[in-house]
């Protein structure tokens, strides 16, 4: 009897431990956040498309994202996304923060410039950030519709060969233009 009780004790312990591990695994959940956004700033309004894929653990989410950003200069932001949910109800507020690199993908027209500036084909990628708040509305099958608004920034640099009447050592003069683009971003998307 003592042996049986000992066996039951160990088995129950194993079961409890197994149940705890299963609970832990269940608390890590893969999520895909796909959104379309509008970027609004001094240069006007432009489209943004993003997909962020990562895992949610309790009220936290972490993932990596990639997108298309058409504001002023077309580019592809690649970034890390962190967000935190608030509230115990089905619909939740959240805050998010993105940081990464904006890879330039300029159109031919965006490479053009003034009459005496010749874009030499060289551009430097720059910082990309986006922070904001949002609201997630649960739909069926634990999917959600999200709305968010925030502030986004991207930086890039274009290099030019400058016309100059001053010739020094016969070398063409180079100059650059560095852009820091500040936008308000509003996004709507679906979470799977």
């Amino acid at each position: 009897m003592k042996k049986i009780l000992t066996l039951v004790f160990f088995l129950s312990g194993c079961c409890i431990a197994h149940a705890q591990r299963a609970d832990t695994l269940r608390s890590w959940k893969f999520q895909s956040i796909n959104s379309i956004g509008l970027l609004n700033g001094q240069a006007g309004t432009a489209l943004q498309l993003q997909t962020v894929n990562g895992v949610q653990h309790k009220s936290w989410f972490a993932g990596v994202g990639i997108g298309l950003d058409y504001y002023r200069f077309r580019g592809i932001p690649v970034f890390v996304d962190i967000r935190k949910m608030f509230g115990a109800t089905a619909n939740k507020f959240f805050i998010y923060g993105d940081a990464g690199i904006h890879f330039n993908w300029m159109t031919a027209r965006q490479k053009e410039s003034g009459s005496n500036l010749v874009y030499n084909g060289d551009a430097r990628n720059g910082l990309y950030t986006d922070v904001g708040i949002g609201y997630a509305i649960n739909t069926v099958n634990k999917n959600a519709f999200i709305l968010s608004a925030g502030y986004s920034y991207k930086r890039l640099k274009q290099f030019y060969t400058d016309y100059s009447p001053i010739v020094v050592d016969g070398a063409p003069i180079k100059s650059s233009i560095q852009y820091g683009l500040n936008r308000i971003v509003v996004k709507a998307g679906l979470v799977f």
Partner: protein, 413 residues
Amino acid sequence: MKKDRTSLTLPAFLVVTILLFAACVKDTCKRVYKIYTPVYTKLTDLRAQVQSKAAAAVTNTGKLYIRGNWIFLNEINKGIHVIDNSNPSHPVKVSFINIPGNIDMYVKGDILYADLYCDLLAADITDPKNIRVAKYLTNTFPDKSRYSTAVDPDSINIITDWKVKDTAVDCSTAPRINDCINCSIYLAAPANSSTAAVSAGMAGSMARFAAVDNYMYAVTSSVLNVIDISSASNPWLVKKQDIGWDIETIFPYNKKLYIGAGSSMSVYDLQDPVNPTQQSFSGHWCSGDPVVADDNYAYVTLHEANVCNSKVNQLEIYNLAIPGSPALVKTYPLTNPHGLSKDGNLLFICDSGLKIYDVSNVAAIKLVKYIPSENTYDVITANGIAYLVTKDGLYQYDYSDLQDIKLLSKLLK
């Protein structure tokens, strides 16, 4: 349900509120470039620097001029290396003639003519280690460094250098004229330019000085100076003649001057040496274009140029049979040609190395030899020797046997 509607109101309010801030965000745009501030030196002080010095290292090769056993090699904007070439296999640097702002040169007898910024000087070089300036002709090349109309060298300040400073300004306030940075400085102050080159008794095709009989012809970017050198040590500016714009090179042949410009080649007749008469004008792509000629043809190399973003790199051959109307025979693509030289049926072209063509049939020239080299600038051929100037220095090749071209010597940095 009422609760859900309430829960949507708050985020909607936040979105609207944030959108209202959209008008507050501004983009930033910074233009980063180099701003050039001129450094002035009195002409008197510059003239005082003209003197022979001990032989110096070749550092920044320019134009070349050959006379007898002597080679004169320009050190851009610094002066002239005098080289004893009695033995082409062992050229010996004898002295360095310090001439600030020097680019071009010509030698008649024992008199050297050279530019010192916009002055033309005549110096006795009987003893290259101890030259003596005989005369200055002021304001001969005004576009090299605009002096003003003053003649007193003490009252003339010349740009001899530029202080360079990296500058970053807001795009909307960048000081520029039609997107041209530094144009405001250029227009406000005299400008200075430096141009690499070779020149000699024989000058290279990149030369701006040439002489026929008792007259020397020196071109600026728009003017042909006619200088009487019948009294060698006492040159006299006879005439300034407007001949167009973007003038780059001058090549004398058979009582004619072949003048290469940024977008043309002109031939001037010297029946009246004081009044060169334009005999023909042949336009071409905007490009750098030294020219050489023989009895029947003119050979022009066009190379891509920064000033007009030209990407043309080719050889053009013109038939000179009808005076006043050169006819383009054929063009040949090249890589990035510069100076050229002609010897019999051989045409030597600096084109990312030295290319030697058989041009006995101009309609189908043949490459007979290619000597790879970097940054070749100009070449002079004389007595079976090719004097080749590159950015690295001066090379001499014996090409008397085309199948076995020998490097005789190299005078490097």
